[in-house]
Structure formats: C-alpha cells, structure tokens
C-alpha cells in the first residue's frame, strides 16, 4: 500500500477528513519551501501538494500563475523540486507528498528517469494537469514500476463513462475539480459538488479529494461534509503573495490560516461521529 493510500485509509478509519494544502515550490524563493512544508504539517496538513512551476500553466488562475512566475524567476526546475522533497524527507517519513504540475518538464527529463528520481526523493504521488487518461499509459507504467501513485482529475464535465475509465487507472485517490474554471476561481456550487461526488462514489472506490474553489474555513467545512480530502491552494498562495516582502512572517501566517481550516474541518468530523 502506498503512503498516500495508507494515510487516507487511516484517516477514514478514524472518520477524519484529510486536509491537503498546496504551495508552489520555489515561491517566493527556493529557500523557504522545505521549512514551509514542515510548518504546514505542524499546522495540520495530512498530505502536501507541491506545485512544480511551469511557464504556461493553462489550468491555473492568476494567483498560482504569479506563484509560478516568482518561482521561475529563481529558475526552480523539476530537479530542484525533487531535491526539496528529498530535503523534506530527511525529517518527515510519514507525510505523503504529491507533485502537481504540467507534462512538459517531465517529458524533458524522460518518464523513466523522472520516476526513478521521484522515488529516490520520496515523492508519493504525481498529478499532471494536462495528462488525461487517454494519454497517460506510458507515464502511469513508469510510475507504477516505482510504486508512485498517478492521481487523476475528475471534472464537472466528466461523463459517467469517463469517470469509470479514470477509476480503472487511478491509484491513491482521485481529485475532483469542484468547478468549471481555473484554480482559485470563486463560484463553488456545493450542491452540485455533493451530487457529482455521489456519482463518482458509485463508480470509484478510491477516496475523493475536492479542490479548486476553497477560499476559507467556511467553504473548507462545507466540502469536508462530502469529501474524503479538502485541497486548498490559491487561498494559501494568495496569503503568501501578500507577504512576498516579509518572508519571515510567511510561516506564521500560513500556520494560522491552515490552523483555522483544520479546526473547521475537525468540527465537521466531530459532528459526524457524534
């Protein structure tokens, strides 16, 4: 069982919803990333999603685009990101780390070489935004060979047929994109999310994480009522951006914000088990 599957199964057994924060590696500079990952774990992160910066992030909203640009200004490459995960693993052998990004940097490295280096670094999962199941066989095989989960997206536009096909290939968990739009968009329709999750669960037995529109403790709690994992990206990155010139305050602000989300999600979990 992979570290991701194990972590999510344990949480499920305790009736807890996973909290998965996302930050872009190298934002605002490469030195802060590993300490920030540790701070996120201390503030209640169950898994961490680490964004691999890309020059043309077509599924991302302005907040994460700018994070990518800041990271690329320091030439944060996929190799650097892998070395950050390696550094994080020196002190944390439990928290699963998922890389999220676009295909081209992986293509340049080569699938087999990427898989091997990711395994060595301690990566547990990979989510490639522009790699639907139709094109993923080769990378999936390379990752499977080294025990890394390939995490797939499911969208509001995914038909039942597509959901079933994704379920056949996915491992670890599936990531439901809660709205039609880019990351950080602000028009989450919770009823629609609940309805779609129902459809997903009828076809896929893996845990379902929900992300893309979660802004604050309130939306995090609402999503926790229906999802196995709550994924928060732009809301965190936006707070980091506002502190771009005071990087020493970043850790505390992130810790506080993630703490409020954690508390809101925990309340939902307690209500449910009560």
């Amino acid at each position: 069982m992979s570290r991701i599957a194990e972590r999510l199964a344990t949480l499920k057994a305790w009736d807890q919803t996973a909290l998965i924060p996302f930050i872009t590696a190298g934002d605002p500079n490469p030195e802060v990333t590993v300490p920030l990952m540790r701070a996120l774990v201390e503030a209640g992160a169950d898994l961490i999603e680490l964004g691999v910066p890309f020059s043309d992030p077509m599924a991302d909203g302005p907040v994460i685009q700018r994070a990518s640009e800041r990271a690329l200004a320091h030439r944060t490459s996929l190799r650097h990101v892998l070395s950050m995960v390696h550094a994080f693993r020196q002190a944390d052998l439990d928290t699963p780390v998922i890389l999220m990004g676009y295909l081209n940097p992986i293509e340049v490295l080569g699938y087999a070489q990427f898989a091997e280096q990711a395994r060595e670094a301690g990566v547990d999962g990979v989510l490639v935004v522009d790699l639907p199941p139709e094109e993923s066989q080769e990378l999936a095989a390379a990752l499977r060979a080294v025990g890394i989960d390939l995490v797939y997206l499911i969208a509001p536009t995914s038909t039942e047929k597509r959901i079933r096909a994704i379920g056949e290939q996915a491992s670890g968990f599936v990531y439901y994109v809660s709205l039609k739009g880019v990351t950080g968009a602000g028009h989450l329709d919770l009823d629609a999310v609940a309805e779609k999750l129902e459809e997903i669960r009828q076809n896929i037995s893996l845990p379902v994480g929900v992300g893309f529109g979660i802004q604050d403790a309130e939306t995090a709690a609402a999503v926790a009522r229906v999802a196995d994992a709550v994924i928060v990206g732009s809301a965190l990155v936006k707070r980091m951006e506002s502190l771009a010139h005071q990087p020493d305050r970043m850790e505390n602000v992130l810790r506080d914000f993630l703490g409020t989300l954690r508390a809101a999600i925990d309340r939902v979990d307690q209500e449910r088990s009560a």
Binding site: F54, S55, D56, P57, M58, A59, D60, G61, P62, Q65, E69, L72, R75, S77, L78, R79, Y102, L103, N104, P105, I106, E107, V108, L109, V129, D130, L131, P132, E134, E135, Y152, L153, I154, A155, P156, T157, S158, T159, R162, I166, V177, K180, G181, V182, A185
Partner: protein, 404 residues
C-alpha cells in the same frame, strides 16, 4: 473532406500524427472536445453544411482566390517561374477566414452563443470578429499586450466589429499567453462557448479540423496550376508559425511525391542568436497547448519567449502535423531571418505592386532563394497568405520613420 489524400490517413482515431498531436488538456475539456469532434465529423459529411460553407466561401470570402503568375519578379530572379496563391485577396486580408467561417458555422450548428479566440498578429482575431458579427454571436478575443501595441489597427478593427479584445499581461504577453488565457476562459464557460483556434495546433480535433477548412487553398491551387500549365508545380512554399496556411496548401499535394514542400519558419535575428521562432529547425519535441509537437524550450522544459518581426509567426510551437511531416521527410522546413523577410517584402511590392504580409514575406524570401537555383522551366507555387496593410507601422518604424 478527408479524401484529398487517399493513402495518407493521419491523424489516427485519437488525434495522433505519429508521436505528435493528441489530447493533452485538463479533464474539464475532455468531454467538450469529444463533443466537438463528433459534431465536426457529422457536419463535414452533411451536404447541407458543406453547401452552406461553399456558398460562404464564394460569396463572403471571395473564393476561389486567384493564382497569379509573378512574371516580372520571376524575370528579375532569372530562375523558376513563381506563381502566387492570392490568399491576400480574401475578405479580411488573409487565409485566416477560411477557417473561422467553417468553425463559426459549426458553433452555430452546435448551439453555442459565444465565441472566443486567441490572436497574435490580429489577423485571426479580425477574421473571428468578422464572422461573429455576421452570425450575431458574442465574441471575445485574447491578445498579448505586446502584440496589441504592435498591431494597433487590428485591435481597432476587432472592436469596431463588436468584439471585446482582452489584453493578456501574463508570461511573455504574446500569442502563447493569449492561447493560455483563451483556454482558461474556455474551461470556465465551456457550456455556451465555442473556442475558434486559429491554427493547426491545440488538442485533437483542432489540428485536423483547421487543416480540413484550410485545405481549400491547396485544392484550388492544384486545379488552377494544372489548368494554367498542364502540370504540377515542382515546389510549394509557405510560411509556418502555427502552420495553418502551409498545411492548407500542402495537404492536397501530399500524395504528389514529385512536388517538394517547403515550410518557412521565422529565424528572427538568426537561429544562432536564440532570438527566433523556429521550433522545427531549432527546437525539440515536447507538450504545450494540448498537443505534442516541436517546441522552443529550455533544458528544464520551460517554454521560451520567441522573436520574429512578424507577430503571426511569433509562437514557440507548431502544428503537430508539421512535426510529423518533418520527421517523415515529406516536407522540408527552413528558416528566414527578419532582414531577409523585410527585403522580400519590399521586392515584391516594387516588382509586382503587391504588398505582402510580413508573415508571407518569409515564404517569398525563401522562394526567391530557391528560384534562382532552379531552371526557368520549373515552377514554384508560393502561398501569399496575407496582405501587408497591417504591417505598415512595423515597416515604417524599421525604416526609421513613422506613418503620418
């Protein structure tokens, strides 16, 4: 329409041209692209749709476009005879409208009420705004901030036609970023929105669909040259940015093995300087904007900013079918520098009284080189893909002056 080239059956069912092409998009777009592919396959078999398309191409675009023998220029060069396929005479001044007419009809049939597009030089944006005005569809065009500054007149034309032109300020602020922004719009408003991509790139079915709409260029040219000279040309020459005018000309000639194909990329300030837009000549394969193709990228896989005097060629990728034609050896890809294109721009203007677009001037510059190495009995057919009115400011600024 896919009967142009009987033995050549690319792309395959999943949109691949050999290892290139495909469908590399976020999950949200997968089902909408499936719907688009189905609609496109149905309508391109439907006589009523094809009749409407043909009538629009004739009465609105002004097709067939003439094939013109550039007699004086040919004599000056002293080599092969040069014929120009006059796409510059189309409504809106370039080949772009062949495709926007087709996609807009498709949008209407699919019940979409809103059209979006990306544009570099503004020609595709104008061609899209034009057909949207005619069909009464809402139209939003994404354009890099830098391109908006260098193609001011086209921005004004689009706005006059009723389109909203949205400046794109992310990344390099040019065509590739406009494409990213259009994709983001499409992901958000996919229910009522049709994305008219302007070139033979992007996810399947766009490369094949845009090729099929542009292939009218090659079908007409093949017929016209046979009528005029009784034989096929020895070489075809067309400029390649994304590559839609080139594939439109090449496609109906792919089975004619005696016809050499030359795609001309923008070498900018020179391939050795790195300041160019020639992925087929100096790039390597990767994945961008929904397809696998040749790209300009750094050693980390980040996409590089490109440079060309012509905004329409200033793109780091290229249509996947060109990548395949390159690897298979059927077509040759070469590159022309800014200064050579500019020289050809002036030469054709003076020799023939035809002001070509700077994009097309790249094809003309290569044709001139080629012609002088060939025999006067031989024939070169050049796609004059657009007219140069839009480039007056650029050319005047380079000459050290400006327009009054």
């Amino acid at each position: 329409m896919a009967t142009d080239s009987d033995d050549y059956s690319w792309p395959d069912a999943r949109g691949h041209f050999g290892p290139y092409g495909g469908l590399f998009v976020p999950e949200t777009l997968m089902h909408p692209l499936e719907e688009l592919r189905e609609a496109y396959e149905i309508f391109l078999q439907e006589p009523a749709f094809l009749a409407e398309l043909d009538a629009d191409l004739r009465d609105y675009v002004g097709r067939p476009s003439p094939l013109y023998f550039a007699e004086r220029w040919t004599r000056e060069l002293g080599g092969a005879q040069i014929f120009l396929k006059r796409e510059d005479l189309n409504h809106t001044g370039a080949h772009k409208i062949n495709n926007t007419i087709g996609q807009a009809l498709l949008a209407k049939r699919m019940g979409k009420t809103r059209i979006i597009a990306e544009t570099g030089a503004g020609q595709h944006g104008v061609a899209t705004a034009t057909v949207a005005a005619r069909l009464g569809l809402e139209c939003v065009v994404y354009m890099g901030e830098i391109d908006m500054a260098r193609q001011e007149a086209n921005v004004y034309r689009m706005r006059m036609l009723g389109a909203e032109v949205v400046p794109v300020t992310s990344g390099s602020k040019t065509l590739k970023d406009a494409l990213n922004e259009a994709m983001r719009d499409w992901v958000t408003r996919v229910d009522n929105t049709f994305y008219i991509i302007g070139t033979v790139a992007g996810p399947h079915p766009y490369p094949a669909m845009v090729r099929d709409f542009q292939a009218v260029i090659g079908r007409e040219a093949r017929k016209q040259i046979l009528e005029r000279t009784g034989r096929l040309p020895d070489a075809l020459v067309a400029c390649v940015g994304g590559g839609s005018n080139a594939i439109g000309l090449f496609y109906p000639f792919l089975q004619d093995q005696g016809v050499a194909l030359y795609g001309v990329e923008a070498a900018g300030e020179g391939l050795k300087t790195g300041r160019h837009a020639a992925p087929l000549c100096a790039g390597r394969p990767g994945v961008l904007h929904g397809n696998r193709t040749y790209l300009m990228e750094d050693e980390d896989g980040q996409i590089l900013a490109t440079h060309s005097i012509s905004a329409g060629l200033d793109y780091p990728g290229v249509g996947p079918e060109h990548a395949w034609l390159r690897d298979s050896g059927r077509a040759n890809y070469v590159a022309i520098e800014d200064r050579e294109a500019l020289e050809a721009f002036h030469t054709l203007t003076r020799a023939e009284g035809i002001i070509p677009a700077l994009e097309s001037s790249h094809a003309l510059a290569y044709a001139a080189k080629l012609a002088s190495e060939m025999d006067p009995s031989q024939i070169i057919l050049v796609n004059l893909s657009g007219r140069g009115d839009k480039d007056m400011h650029t050319v005047a600024a380079l000459a050290g002056g400006k327009l009054a």
